[in-house]
Symmetry: C2
Subunit: 337 residues, 2 copies
């Protein structure tokens, strides 16, 4: 199994992606890695890795699509970027999976226009796994598609269902629709029109999920348009950060609190680990014709190795195949090829 | 100053509203209260309040608009409900303010169709004050208007601005637009079209606010359509609850954590108080021709007295007058009467 790793993506590139690749090669004997980037920067980092060096193939990709430029233009113009090279290699089956901590827009655009969508899927979506204290739920879409139509959301459910089956080994993932009320007739025009479509879809639709229940382990896949999904993703981070800040401040406010904080440190550390995204890896880009994971921009080496672990699971669990089968079930007979 | 209190609204009616009214009369010597409800239930509760009894006027309102029925139909049919009676009394200046912990939809519909909108305001909005650890921000709209047009959002900014000026005494509240990115060109079609309208509005627009910064004290008024606003409102509750639950569980997991929890109790209690909605009161309904506060359905007596305190501040701060002035500034000359 061969995984493509973008060595130039993310806040700590190329150090973090290279370190992540080496860690992953040691963790997973079944893989080889194609490492693409500016070789003058990447090669010097390949030290102390003689044990896995033979399983690394280097590809020169001196261009980088940054967060500041238009992703679509970047993908069109920067043909020597790791994003474009990797997506084309994935399309040509030269690699089996793709991991990048670079520009989200570039990964999306590369997936859409260089790798290509799964036939029948209208909008690929980014779907991070989010912690809820007990385990994780998949949030789809988290920002790729800000203006959606009802059948996009119906398909997001299918994509999420396939991921949870293939990667998490769930038999019957619970798919919920994020809404402002539990009843079928609640919501804005978009979700009201989506509800009956999800009822007809070939997955286990559990109905509307109110925002206060998102972290309540009532669904494994939570569907929203990219605008609302992004709100949920980032607000969770914000509220958790604010609350932990308040707790810290109140504990530091007097001696008694300080002592409690000191004694409670291991418990707080466990809480932090439970809420930590780096253990999960990254967000899969679902709906494209290959296994693609977008790692968090601030990923360190370990987080990148976890993203590589995730793409391995996507390949082994045949997520793309499950989606293809689901699409065939969902499309009306006259639209099937 | 006379405040109308719906004695039949909320999960703990009529006990909580009656207790809240009595508490408020003791806290605020400048007010009288009109208490409306099923008098056979309300009157027996007026015990041990001889000190304020003469400042209470009872009004018989035997009907209740429940959460289960259509608010618009409820307001139309149940003319003997406290909601309808109170809104008409407010319209006729028989009372100066209105407080209810009853059906949100009924308060909205009553405000729209019995009390009436401020001329020029298209959509009244519910706007709870939310804690951010340092103080509060006003979230507008939190669910009344799920499908919005850009100029509704522009007006929400005006409504929130007036509240923060009149009630919180702010000179120049910072008004932000909830979005998925900080840049002006980010977002879905709605917020992209809203941005330039808010730039032109007669309040201090500070631009887009990403969800991770909502609780970061970067704006005093945060504008969103009612669908997204409701997500934010309820997700905050959900995440905070989940996180506190995880912390509790991890602290109870070993002896060390248990001891820390015990010693840290006062600090945790302060955190809880900081995040507590009952101290704030309720959500003002802004854009209607009078001071209206919708208290949380689960309000106890103290929370209801805080909601009464809030409506007093709205009256004293002339929030309705400030909105009227703002509308006049905002409307193009040809639309002004």
């Amino acid at each position: 199994m061969r995984i493509f790793v973008d060595a130039m993506g993310g806040d700590f590139a190329p150090q973090a992606p290279v370190a992540g690749a080496i860690e992953a090669l040691r963790r997973f004997p079944q893989i080889d890695i194609t490492l693409a980037g500016d070789l003058s920067q990447v090669e010097p980092l390949l030290v102390d890795c003689d044990d896995v060096r033979s399983r690394i193939t280097l590809v020169d990709a001196p261009e980088v699509i940054t967060n500041e430029e238009s992703p679509v233009m970047g993908v069109r113009r920067k043909t020597r970027s790791a994003t474009v090279i990797g997506m084309l290699m994935l399309r040509n089956k030269e690699v089996d999976g793709f991991v990048s901590a670079g520009s989200t827009g570039a990964v999306m655009a590369g997936g859409m226009f260089r790798l290509g969508r799964i036939p029948g899927i209208e909008r690929p979506a980014l779907a991070p796994l989010m912690p809820n204290g007990k385990g994780h739920f998949l949030l789809i879409d988290c920002g790729a598609n800000v203006d959606c139509q009802p059948h996009f959301l119906q398909q997001f459910g299918l994509l999420g269902d396939a991921y949870m089956k293939g990667v998490m080994g769930m038999e019957k993932p619970r798919v919920g629709l994020i809404n402002i009320g539990a009843e079928a007739e609640k919501g804005n025009a978009l979700v009201k029109a989506t509800y009956p479509l999800m009822e007809q879809a070939p997955y286990h639709f559990v109905g509307n999920v109110e925002a206060r229940d998102i972290t309540g382990d009532v669904a494994d896949v939570l569907v929203a348009d990219g605008f609302c999904g992004n709100l949920v993703l980032k607000f969770m981070e914000g509220v958790a950060g604010t609350l932990m800040g308040i707790i810290k401040k109140e504990m530091m406010a007097d001696l008694r609190g300080k002592i409690a904080g000191l004694i409670g440190k291991p418990a707080f550390r466990r809480v932090k680990k439970l809420m930590d995204y780096t253990e999960v890896g990254g967000a899969p880009l679902l709906g494209v014709q290959g296994a693609v994971v977008k790692a968090h921009g601030s990923s360190n080496g370990h987080a990148l190795s976890c993203a590589i672990a995730q793409v391995i699971k996507m390949i082994e669990g045949d997520v793309v195949g499950i989606i293809e089968k689901g699409v065939a079930e969902m499309l009306p007979a006259d639209q099937q090829a």
